[in-house]
């Protein structure tokens, strides 16, 4: 497991904090190495990250189950929150972005929204401290699913004119059509899945690194007070800055879940109506 504990341990035990300006453990890869598999099923290793993936899924299921279990006229605060979240995805994303026919994509959009939201908040959860979307597996898979959905929907709805409308856009002057068509083609079929996955992945990696570095180095500096004396005071600054980033990451975690879901809806919408 990368992150805070490994970093603090590495810095504290392997670095000459007095003399070295940049301290790197002997093998930097250890910072990115994940714990030994807990157990192995056939060829598949079950690691802490795998466990967190499943935990996120179970938390989503539990949230929805307890939020929607009772059919009451006046919901509790928790039920109202969960219900308004579901309504937000169904009405605010599926229906508003895609249109009335978009409601049938709600199961997919709600699933990815909830899974990414919970997974991102793992970054800020004590004792987990690890955003599962900072591993490529789920962003990669979900952006691939979105890709297949919008390509299949495009062909199913428009036939071959789905591609021709993109490659030869009629709303653009003839002279520009080859250029715009090429850009649109590459953007739609090559860049969309890539950017969708990388946006989420990179944001969570960056947030996780920031938190780990700031909080970790803050703790490391403060703990090294015996060796470096008053210079350890800078650790307080790093730690405080880390706490500020922590608040910032709350926004990022929610926003990235929203952006991923929103863009999936936008891509599906653009396949239903490629002329726009």
């Amino acid at each position: 497991m990368g992150g805070l504990i490994a970093l603090v341990a590495a810095v504290h035990h392997e670095c000459d904090v007095v003399n070295e300006v940049v301290c790197v453990p002997a093998d930097v890869k250890t910072l990115f190495e994940f714990k030994e598999p807990w157990f192995t099923i056939g060829p598949v290793n079950f690691t802490r990250t795998s466990f967190l993936f499943l935990l996120a899924a179970l938390i989503v299921v539990a949230l929805l189950f307890f939020g929607l279990r009772r059919n009451r006229m006046v919901p509790s605060k928790f039920e109202a929150a969960i219900q308004s979240l579901v309504e937000f995805v169904r009405d605010g994303i599926a229906r508003d972005i895609i249109g009335p026919e978009g409601v049938k994509y709600t199961p997919y959009l709600l699933s990815i929204f909830m899974l990414i939201l919970v997974g991102n908040f793992f970054e800020l959860t004590p004792f987990i401290n690890f955003p599962i979307m900072s591993r490529m597996a789920i962003p990669f898979f979900l952006s691939l699913v979105t890709y297949f959905i919008f390509v299949i929907v495009g062909f199913a709805k428009n036939g071959l004119s789905y591609v021709t409308a993109i490659v030869w856009p009629k709303s653009v002057p003839v002279a520009l059509r080859p250029l715009v068509g090429l850009i649109e083609f590459v953007s739609t079929f090559a860049l969309r899945p890539l950017t969708l996955a990388v946006r989420l992945f990179a944001n969570m990696v960056a947030g996780h690194l920031m938190l780990s570095l700031l909080l970790g180095s803050g703790v490391a500096f403060i703990l090294a007070v015996g060796e470096i004396g008053p210079k350890a005071g800078i650790g307080i600054f790093w730690f405080a800055f880390g706490l500020f980033i922590f608040l910032f990451e709350i926004v990022v975690a929610s926003l990235q879940a929203y952006v991923f879901t929103l863009l999936s809806a936008v891509y599906i919408q653009s396949s239903l109506h490629p002329e726009h």
Partner: protein, 181 residues
Amino acid sequence: MRTNLQLAILAQEESGSNISLVLPETNELIAGIVSFLIVFFFVWKWALPAINRILEARQKAITGKLEDAERAKNEAESLRKDYEKQLADSRTQRNEILDEARKNAEQIKADLLAKAQTEADGIVAKAREEADNEKSRALSEARQEVANLTIDLAEKVVGQSLDRETQLGLVERYIAELEEK
């Protein structure tokens, strides 16, 4: 002399490509797909039907409540109109009763006054009649007395008793003559 940073970069280059940190691991990919499928099937088969049920029930309940409220409002409105009408009716009725009572009272008062007047008149008339009677009786008595005295006087003057009946006739005639004068 190499810095630690250069050492670190070298170490990474030696131990393989960094692209492996970006690409998904098979283990995690499998776990990720399983997680997604768990969530997706739960949402698809249970969560969305549940929220649709909840929202429909709530919508129905709220619509029903609104209709109830509308009906209650209308009822209250018609009740209010009834009450106002009754109030106005009773006010008119009260006025009528008062008018009638006043009229009755005036009638009774007038009757009583008239009756009292009649009684008073009766009493006065009776008193006057009695006084007249008294007066005429006194007169006749006085006349009788005068006649008697005159006769007695005449007897004493004449010195002898005249025939009383004749003398009475004389006196009467004399008085009648006086009255005629």
